[in-house]
Symmetry: C2
Subunit: 125 residues, 2 copies
DNA sequence: CTGTATCCTTAGGGATACTG
DNA sequence: CAGTATCCCTAAGGATACAG
């Protein structure tokens, strides 16, 4: 039951950041609000890459594949994340800001997922 | 982002067992395929209870509230679990048996969720 | 900036004995 | 059967120095 992904705090936060927060680089992810350690971040990115959920952008020529992005398999996690947010909205004490952003999921879940997925797929190869 | 729940392997498995496997008692849960330790199980059940996701059935008079069940808040996790299963079906190497059971979610997700929720709510007080 | 390597500490958790 | 209490040990992970 994909416990590797759902049984780890940091993995979840990385996916969130790549999916919704627009983070792309190692440095972006490192600067997460929660303060992940460098070795942990590297370890999780490796695991996610090995599992085909994340990949490094190869802009062929650009030195260092510093950018990460979700693969289609990773993008397919969107419905799960959306449901997690909806549940959080209903049952958790969250910030007004987050609640406002969740409103767009409530307004049109399918649309939100489709739009976000399209955005994440930009420039896929 | 409810990292308590989604960042812990055992918590996820307990919810799964209560939600889909029909387990109710401490002993049932203890006998999980994955082999949870007694102290860990007790700890997680306590955490889930404190978070209002699980409650002990009080059959008023029956000694020892040995049965656990999901609260409404816990039942509301159903859409998330359903999406996790759908994702697993699409992207993971799972058993034929599990795939067969997921088929019923694919056939009618809303119906599956409604039916399961109703089943879990039986005898709520 | 993107990682890798090491060190060191703590907490998670397996095993198991024990209690109501 | 339903938990609690201990013990012990490994592994997760924070801090940080180092490397490409």
């Amino acid at each position: 039951m994909s416990v590797e992904i759902w049984g780890d705090k940091w993995t979840l936060l990385i996916i969130r950041d790549l999916m919704f927060v627009g983070k792309k680089t190692y440095g972006d992810l490192l600067a997460s609000e929660e303060g992940i350690a460098t070795n942990i971040l590297a370890d999780r990115l490796k695991m996610l890459t090995e599992n085909g959920i994340v990949e490094q952008t190869q802009t062929a020529g650009t030195r260092s594949g510093s950018a990460y992005k979700l693969t289609q398999k990773g993008i397919d996690l969107l419905p799960i994340m959306a449901e997690i947010y909806l549940w959080s909205d209903a049952h958790l004490d969250i910030s007004d800001d987050l609640r406002r952003r969740i409103q767009s999921i409530k307004d049109d879940k399918a649309g939100f997922i489709a739009d976000t997925a399209r955005e994440l797929s930009k420039g896929d190869g």
